[in-house]
Symmetry: C2
């Protein structure tokens, strides 16, 4: 592999995304992408006593599903990269504790899935591994409880707020295979533009997405039109609009081929999620469920996946801090 | 690089640990290793209004110190790997948000520092980077508040409890240099033996440390005596004894060359920390402050650094869960 430009790494033997899997909650099951997910749950608990245990079960079963679908034995998976939004990433560590695969815990907030794919790609092209597992999860109820208010309080959500996706996405990436290939990665910098509204994560993360997008295009001397689609993780309606407008002021027209997973995972009219979906599982399930199949079916052949994360917690908001954002990008091509 | 045995990666061009830095709090400043740290703070706040902000400042200044000592321009550092114990790793993301270096958030609880060094090594030997920054932090007051009880409550600490180290350790690792070299890494699996006592982390993490130690030795066909010293991160007195005894039952005698950072960072007689030190900064500061200098001065020439982490949080303990442990190992040689 080699470094190109400021932040990008391109691969000599681009790793193949061999298989993906996704499990989602009941609200996502009523959304427009329902038919693309491997499993849709009927309730948020899935037989568990707490939301945290339910989230652990979701990531566990998603990982079991992707391993099963891939035909790769768990013992042939060299390393696992995973993380989530819960304090100390417990969904991943409890959900995957029986996996018996060397484990790298990753925290990039909602950018975790693509951060994991970035790390996996470097391991694979560097011959440090043959098969790698990447997984992430989020859960509306556990996230609301932890980051905002207990659901029982019945708080009114402001129009800028987003709806944390309940679900998990997982992928097995291999050193060899027939694609789709991860051809390049652009890991992002932390960008903090001073946004302090914990109910407007899209606005807080948009500058990081823009920074990574432009850096990626400049590093590889590409125009936005190189990609069939540029896909951000969970900027939602507000963040998507900000990125589109800011990109234009910088001379990049992404109006025709840019979409956000938070915008497409829920139905704007029928499902009231305000500014759209969010959470690690937003891009995790939308990519694993929908976009991966579009790549496989050659309906899309070149995509740029930009996962965004808000590197904040409830304490920092209470202490008057602004919200640092980050965005990691990977180019996936047939 | 190449994979060896079950979990180990050895490097064709072993990366050099170019420089380290460490800043510690007032209790560590009264301990036996005080003279090895770059800076000792007089109080836990360091002019900040909250413990969280103080911890962010500590990691920020430690990173500034290591960059300054290394002589490498910040603009020549390709990637940063960092994480900590605070919810959503805010110490790292807030402390390093002005760094302007592409950032990978890592969460391995108290194993985070060595997890970061593992990832950095793969990037460097794989030619994905020339210089990489690794950093971590922990803070006694923010950790007690978050994981156990507010300090103001004045809770009595049981004899098995450990004292979270206040401080930060940081290292710059480079693709080229004169050593000490990271020659091999053994990333660990999650190991959960059912320990539920949140005040006995040493016991919870010991089985993971043993698993990684034995796997490392088997993968490379080495005896414990290959190393001048085998060093675990923060098992403390209880965990150290468990690992020593369990290793013996497995046929490995580590009695003469095994030490734990949690045991040596505080004075057992004069400083009442019960089972010893803990936290990301325990191995972070002890390695960066003490062991790195021992390697540079050739007082030690081969060490195996095994950082241990308890992948738990306050909620899981309250929900009756056991404590999964993990341990990542790196071999460092002159």
């Amino acid at each position: 592999m080699k470094r190109i430009g400021k932040q990008t790494i391109s691969f000599d033997s681009p790793p193949t995304i061999l298989e993906t899997a996704s499990i989602v909650g009941p609200k996502e099951a009523q959304g427009p992408l329902a038919k693309y997910f491997d499993q849709c749950l009927e309730d948020e608990f899935w037989g568990e006593k707490t939301w945290e245990k339910a989230e652990s079960k979701i990531i566990k079963e998603t990982v079991n599903t992707v391993i099963s679908k891939s035909g790769i034995a768990a013992s042939d998976i060299d390393y696992c990269f995973a993380g989530d939004l819960l304090n100390q990433c417990i969904s991943s560590s409890f959900g995957l504790r029986e996996l018996n695969i060397p484990f790298f815990g990753v925290f990039g907030a909602c950018s975790t899935f693509v951060e994991s794919l970035c790390l996996a790609s470097v391991f694979l092209d560097g011959k440090a591994a043959s098969n790698v597992l990447c997984a992430t999860s989020s859960h509306f109820c556990s996230a609301e409880k932890q980051f905002r208010f207990p659901l029982e309080l019945g708080n009114q959500r402001p129009p800028t707020s987003q709806w944390t996706v309940t679900g998990s996405g997982a992928a097995i990436v291999s050193a060899s295979g027939k694609g789709p290939y991860i051809t390049a990665i652009t890991p992002g910098k932390i960008v903090d533009m001073g946004i302090k509204d914990a109910n407007n994560m899209g606005a807080a993360m948009a500058p990081a997405a823009l920074d990574t997008l432009i850096t990626h295009l400049q590093d590889l001397d590409r125009k936005p039109s190189y990609y069939d689609m540029i896909i951000s993780g969970d900027l939602g309606y507000i963040g998507k609009e900000i990125v589109t407008e800011l990109a234009e002021t910088k001379g990049y027209n992404i109006k025709n081929n840019y979409e956000d997973c938070g915008v497409i995972i829920f139905d704007k009219e029928k499902q009231d999620t305000h500014s759209g979906g969010s959470g690690c599982a937003c891009i995790g399930t939308t990519f694993s469920g929908y976009f991966f199949k579009q790549l496989r079916n050659r309906k899309l052949n070149r995509i740029l996946l930009i996962a965004t994360g808000a590197l904040t917690n409830a304490t920092t908001s209470q202490q008057g801090e602004s919200i640092p954002g980050i965005a990691h990008a990977i180019a996936i091509e047939n």
